[in-house]
Structures are given as C-alpha cells and as structure tokens.
C-alpha cells in the first residue's frame, strides 16, 4: 500500500506583495519513495510550489494559503518551518549561498548545531552524511577550494539527516557544467535508490534530468498543473513546446525526421529506447541534402599568440593561440578552472600575458590601457547587477562616453544608435529597476556596445535562465551579430548554446587549448569531450545507435535547425 507523503488538496497560494494568486487549485499527491520531476518555465509557480512544501512560504515570504497541504500527514498551515524541516530537506539552486559554514564539516553540521546536538554526537553524523555524497576527504576544506558540483554535494549532505523523508532539489543543474550536471543527476538517483527517500526535482532542463529514470513528471504553467504522468507520455504529447520547455535534442531530431512518436517505445530513455519504428525515417532524413552553413571569413581582428599566464606559481594558461575574424560567433568552453575566464580577463586587459602577446587588428595590445582596450573589446559580466550603476537606462548606456568626456551631440547620437540596436530606445527613460533580467542583460551589453568595440565577450549570458528567456537573450545576440556584424565571444558551458548559436568552439582544458574547430566536430570528438568535462549530446547517442557517423549527423542537424530558424519548417524541407 503506497503511503502519501505530500498531499495538495485544492491548494492555492498568494504572496502578500502580489495582487493575484501564484498557485491555483493544486491537487497533487506524491507517494513515499517516488521520484518526481516538477517541470515548468520560470514564473510557472514551480518554485513557489516547492517553497510551500518546505515551509519557506509563508515563513519567509508572507502570503495567503487556501485549501490544504499535508506533509507526512501534518497540515502545513499549522506547522512551523522547523517542524517541516525535520521531514523535508531542501537543496537550493544557489549552492554558494547555501554554503553557510566556513568549512565542509561545519556546513554539514549546521542543522545539528541549530538543534544543539553535542559535538561528540555530531562528528559521526557529519562523517556519515559526507560519505553518502563522497566528500569525506574534504571535511577540512574551505568553500573557496571547492567547485560548484562539490558545494552542491555538501549542501545535500547538510540536509540528508536520518529523519528526513523527502528531498527537494531546486534547479540543481543551473550552475553546473554538463558533465558535473550528469554526475549530480546520477548522485540524486543513487541516493533515491539506496535511501528510499522521496525525491522532488524542480528543473526546466528536461533532457539532463532524464539522464536517469524519473517516475513521474508534473508540468506546471501559470500556477496550474497541466500535466501529471509518466515521462514517456509527456514526450509524445507535444505539450513541451506549447509551454516553453526545451525538448530533448534526440526528440527534436526524431520529429525533424517526421517520425510518429509513440509512448510504448520507452522514449524517455535515449540509451535503451526501442528505435526500430523510427530507424528508417531517421536514416532517410540523414541522406537529405541540407545546405551546409559556410561562413565567409572576415578580416582578422584579434590574434592571441602563444599566450601563457600564471597566478603566482600556478600556471593557468599554457601557450594558447587562436584568432577571431570579424563577424564570427565563437563559444569558449571548458570546465570551471580550465582557464576560460582567465582568457577573458587577458583579452579585456585586466591581466596581461606573462608570455606571448595579443594583437587587436594587428596592433600590439600592450600599448593600450584597460580603458583603451575597453573601446575595442567589451567584456560583459555574468551578473548584470554587478555592472549597472545608474538608475535610468539612458544614463547607464551613456556612462562610458561621459567618463571619456565626449561632447553632448556625439553622445546623444551614439546612445540613440546603440539603444535602437538593442531594442531599448522606447524604454530609454525607464528606471533600471523596472525591467526584467533579460532586459538588464541588454542594458549591460548596450553599455559596452556604445563604445563601438570590435568584439564583445559575454560571460555565461544565459546562466540561470529558463528556455524562454534563454531564447530571448540569444536571439537578441544573434540579431546583433547578423544585422550589425558584431563579433561575439561566448564563455559558456551550455552545449545547447554552442550548437545553436555559434559556429566555432574553442575548448580549454587544464589551461591548454585542446580544440578550435566547428561545433559539430568538437561534439563528436570523444577525447575533447572527455578532457573538457563536456557531455555527449543525445544526438551523438542517437547517431551511434542508428549506425550513423556522429560528426556528420550532428552537422546535418545543426544545419537543418539553422534553416528552420531562418525560414520556417516548410521551406527547410
């Protein structure tokens, strides 16, 4: 007999600060030992739902509850967040903020400290929890020595105490590189199987979560549950695109090939699904001629020549060389600490190479100050809040010109042009605080573009964004590139981004440049993928399983996708 652990009955939640309810009429039961994925675009209410379960709503964010929610039989309306946290452990999205101890051991012990558990009893418990996540050797490490994936493991260890029966993972993949994300999904799966705790994953990255089995997917949209069933049903339902969720690449490939998807083929698992019904069409599709995307090489605007760099004694870049031509879109990929951010800092002149040199349009860049390099290479940081100073959009964009003492006319002219390019002209007198994250991102890009640089470098432009906002930001950047010929360098670990929006990938590993070639080549090269902590896309697996050459297959897929994006589906076929 299955025992329910979460029971929503006609449940609704309205934040005090908002006029309308965020959750409406939720009816959902999760049984003990289940593993459920809560899927939905941002603003769909999936995080609100999670916060109602763990008690942050209404403890931290005041609001009104209607209907009933029971956790392990306890009505949450009457329970304190502390009573709930005995049953529910939550791993938050921001593993850096969640790490509140000064060492791994302290962080894992935090909940026990709050319970006033004596230290002698704490130590074995901390050791046990750290073993579950394989971090027992790191107990004396400080947070700055850990990678994002390790911090997340520590967060998990900190909430996995014996009594906890339900684990909630709030966007666990948001800050991880592809391979670490894969490990995280695997770890969650292992803990689920071994501990028999109930697991709830909140994510919008469906493909990555489906790397391991989930029992059920709950799809949310605008505060309602719109789907609640097994993954296979969802994948064939066509609901994903309707609600702005990115479907797994192999599903897209199957659709492009004109396959009729059925749920009895085990379609949620690309590694084991039955491909027989689709094989013929897939192979047929591959033979179809698609115009290969060829880029006309522009003039060389940036040349990195045999550059090495070290922080103190630790060498972080070793003998790196590459060139960038005008109008290119290039992604710089590699795991954390591989040297990609150091490269960005070198390019923007913050650090200078210890050996080798960088040439901007053939000019030795050592002759330029940081400020002068800023006029040629614009660097856009990941977090727009770390860049925005002024409160009015126009003032923010013109700041760099004011600081350079330009005349009013020149300024107005350039600012107008830039704002129009970025689609911000109508909002130029708006306060920065009134706009969305994506628009803030545009503002920071505009504040760099106003100097008319040759290249802009974007650090993780879509970090933490759902598919809808991701598409919005990336399409905007694509427009800048196509209409205005702006050269763009993306620093990213999002392979989807690289596939869809860039032509070339420069791959770093351990400070060395290990690949500099078209994206499809990088993605079909096992060695490079291994070295750079990248992950094989499901396209690779699909190609492999139908007996095609992955490189050719991925290239074909990219070219076809580009055509659809430009001309729509009908003309592409």
């Amino acid at each position: 007999m299955k025992k329910p652990i979460i029971e929503f009955k006609d449940f609704g939640f309205q934040y005090k600060s908002q006029r309308e309810a965020t959750l409406h009429n939720i009816n959902l039961t999760v049984y003990e030992g289940e593993k459920v994925l809560i899927l939905g675009p941002s603003g769909s209410g999936k995080s609100t739902l999670a916060n109602c379960i763990n008690g942050l709503n209404p403890f931290s964010y005041e609001g009104k509850i209607t209907g009933s929610l029971k956790i392990a039989g306890m009505e949450t309306k009457d329970a304190s967040i502390f009573a709930i946290s005995k049953n529910v452990g939550t791993v938050l999205q921001d593993s850096d903020a969640q790490f509140v101890g000064l060492s791994v051991g302290e962080d894992i012990a935090f909940a026990l400290e709050n319970e006033s558990v004596p230290r002698q009893k704490m130590i074995p418990k901390v050791l046990k929890a750290s073993k579950i996540v394989e971090m027992e050797k790191y107990l004396l490490h400080v947070p700055y020595e850990l990678s994002g994936g390790q911090k997340q493991k520590v967060s998990l260890a900190g909430v996995i105490h014996d009594e906890v029966r339900l684990l909630i993972f709030d966007e666990p993949l948001a800050a991880l590189d592809p391979k670490t994300g894969m490990y995280a999904v695997d770890l969650i799966d292992r803990i689920h199987r071994e501990s028999n705790k109930t697991v709830l994953i909140i994510e919008h990255r469906l493909e990555d979560v489906l790397y391991r089995h989930v029992d059920r997917i709950v799809l949310m949209n605008e505060g309602n549950i719109v789907f609640d069933d097994v993954p296979d049903k969802l994948l064939v339902s066509g609901l994903l695109s309707r609600y702005g969720i990115r479907e797994p690449l192999y599903i897209t490939a199957l659709r492009y090939a004109g396959c009729e998807l059925t749920e009895d083929t085990g379609i949620a698992d690309v590694y084991h699904m039955n491909l027989e019904p689709y094989r013929e069409k897939l192979l047929e599709k591959e033979k179809m001629k698609v115009e290969r995307y060829e880029q006309e090489p522009g003039e060389e605007i940036l040349r990195v020549s045999e550059v090495s760099f070290a922080y103190g004694r630790e060498e972080v870049l070793k003998n790196v060389s590459f060139t960038i031509r005008k109008g290119e879109k290039v992604s710089v990929v590699g795991k954390n600490g591989a040297g990609k951010s150091t490269m960005a800092k070198l390019l923007s002149g913050i650090h200078r190479p210890a050996k080798g040199n960088i040439y901007i349009k053939g000019e030795d860049y050592r002759n330029y100050s940081i400020k002068e390099i800023g006029e040629r290479i614009g660097y856009v940081m990941q977090n727009p809040n770390q860049m925005i100073v002024k409160d009015i959009i126009r003032e923010e964009v013109e700041l760099a010109l004011i600081l350079r003492g330009k005349s009013r006319e020149e300024m107005d002219d350039k600012v107008k042009k830039t704002l129009q390019m970025c689609g911000l002209y109508g909002m130029r007198n708006w306060p920065v605080s009134a706009v969305s994250y994506g628009q803030k991102k545009r503002i920071t890009i505009a504040s760099m573009l106003v100097l008319e640089p040759e290249i802009i470098i974007l650090d993780e432009p879509t970090a933490g964004q759902d598919y809808y906002h991701y598409t919005e930001i990336m399409n905007f950047l694509d427009d800048l590139n196509r209409k205005y010929g702006i050269t763009i360098l993306f620093i990213t670990h999002d392979m989807h981004l690289a596939i869809e929006y860039t032509d070339r990938a420069i791959v770093f590993s351990e400070g060395e440049l290990v690949a500099d070639s078209p994206v499809y080549k990088v993605l079909s090269d096992d060695k490079v993928i291994e070295k750079a902590n990248l992950k094989q896309t499901s396209l690779y697996e699909l190609a492999h399983r139908i007996g095609s050459d992955p490189e050719n297959y991925i290239e074909q897929f990219i070219a076809y996708e580009r055509m659809i994006k430009e001309n729509g589906r009908s003309t592409a076929d």
Partner: protein
C-alpha cells in the same frame, strides 16, 4: 583572495592553535583588560616577551607579519613624537611631578628623563597590544571566535554575524575586484596620477553602488538556506568547530581566572584609589 587574509579558516597544529575557542577568546579578553589597565613596565614587559614567545611557537609566516610590525611601530613612533612636540615635559605629570632635563634644544623643547620613560612605556604598551592581538588572530578561526563569544553569553545571533561575515569576505572581495575592473574598462580612472582627488571620490560611487546592491542581493537566499536548516529554532546552539576541553585548556583556565582576579585587584588598588604618581617610575 582567502590567502590574503591574516586569520586562518582552518585550525593549525600547534599547542596554541589547539586550544578551544572559549579559552582563546576569554584569555584574550583578560589580556586586553590587563594591557589597558596597566601603565607599568613591570607588567607590560613580561607580557610582551611572553607574547613574542607565543607568536614564535606558532611558526607564523614572518614575511607577512613583519610588515605589520614595521608599519604599526612607525605609526606609534610618530604618535609619541607628536606627544612630545605638544608637551615636551609630558612625563612630569605621569612620574610624580619631577622633570630631569637631559638636553635642551631651545626654549620649551627639552628632553627629560621622565618624558622618555613615559613615552617608552606608552610605546611598549601599544606594541604589546599588537603582539597579543597578533597571537590571537593567528591562533583562532572565525568559527572559534563565534563559539568563544557564545561561551561568554554573547547572543548567538551576534556570534553568527562574526562567522558569516568571514564566510562572505572572500566572495565580496572578489566581486569588489571584478566590479572595479569592469568600471575601469568603462572609463573610471582610479590612478591618482591621472585624475584629481575629488574626481576619484565621485567616481568611487560608481563602484560602490553595484557592490552594495549585488552584495545585499544574496541576503535572501542565505537566510532561506539557514531557515530551512533550522537556524533560530532554539535558544541555544552548539558548535561543531568547538573542540572538547583538553588539559591545556584547563591549565589556561586557571591562568586566566587568576589573572582576571589580579586585574580586578590592580584596578581597584592602583587605578581607582589615588596614587602618588600615575605610573611606576623607578628613578624618582
């Protein structure tokens, strides 16, 4: 960034490092009282020497520490020189009224034995204070400070401020660097040779605004993470980083308790009750 901090985040291996946070904090507070109350070379000199021994026992990185001693030493020398300039006979009121002139520059600028004595003791007092602070800083971790303060009945929410501030200092320092750089790229000039003082002050606003906003942005997330793990649930808490009392702690306890009683005795008899002279002066 973390490497630039003087304080350790992970406890070291020597005897002083291995004392509990409670011992370190209590001992330090008693010693501060001891330094502040005394203007007596008979108390300060032994403590200063013991402090240096303590410092040596921790095998610190002298290259880094040397710098602080030199700067603080020079600052204090300037300070006592200023004292002398304002009142060359400043020793008189401290040493019982006499002024033994050793050398006279001109008019009022004289060097007296009493002034030399007074200013030297003052210098010693400042340097002892630095040595003891240094021993404390190098021997303790932020979590031990929190645990130690908690042991003297400071509310644990205040103790949390200490440990959490240290947790986020490296992050904030890194953000600060990044923001500074991104503003320099946009044209902010911080080089004192290229921009006037007032310009730089005004442009500093451009760095502080995003720093403040992005730093306080994280408050909500951190607070949530802590609430979810039961922070603030009870009236008491325990500390994972606070070790069990060892023999050395018990010995230290006897020492600082005794010292504390001595301080009370000293303050009552020497500081509160009137004395013939304000400080001990052997040559009067």
């Amino acid at each position: 960034m973390a490497g630039q901090l003087l304080i350790n985040l992970i406890p070291g291996e020597t005897t002083l490092h291995k004392l509990t946070g409670t011992t370190k904090v209590r001992f330090f507070i008693v010693l501060l009282v001891f330094i502040i109350m005394s203007f007596d070379i008979r108390l300060l000199l032994p403590l200063c020497i013991l402090g240096i021994v303590g410092l040596l026992s921790m095998k610190p990185n002298w290259k880094v520490i040397k710098y602080f001693f030199i700067i603080t030493g020079v600052m204090n020398l300037i300070n006592i020189f200023l004292f002398w300039l304002v009142d060359p006979d400043c020793g008189a009121i401290w040493c019982g009224g006499g002024s033994t002139v050793l050398y006279q520059f001109s008019g009022r600028f004289i060097i007296t034995a009493e002034s030399i004595w007074y200013l030297s003791v003052r210098f010693l007092k400042m340097m002892t204070s630095l040595v003891i602070s240094m021993v404390f800083i190098l021997s303790i971790t932020p979590s031990e400070i929190a645990a130690g303060l908690y042991s003297i009945k400071v509310p644990y929410k205040i103790c949390t401020i200490f440990s959490m501030a240290f947790r986020y200092i490296p992050d904030i320092a890194r953000d600060f660097d990044n923001i500074k750089i991104s503003m320099q790229v946009r044209g902010v000039e911080l080089d004192s040779k290229k921009a006037s003082f007032m310009t730089r002050i005004k442009q500093y606003v451009l760095i502080l605004v995003p720093l403040i906003i992005s730093s306080f942005d994280r408050v909500g997330n951190i607070a949530n993470a802590m609430d979810l793990r039961g922070y603030g649930k009870g009236k008491t808490r325990t500390y994972y980083s606070e070790r069990e009392e060892q023999k050395a702690d018990k010995a230290a306890k006897i020492l600082y308790c005794g010292l504390f009683l001595f301080c009370i005795y000293w303050i009552i008899t020497k500081n509160i009750m009137p004395q013939p002279s304000k400080m001990w002066y052997p040559f009067s």
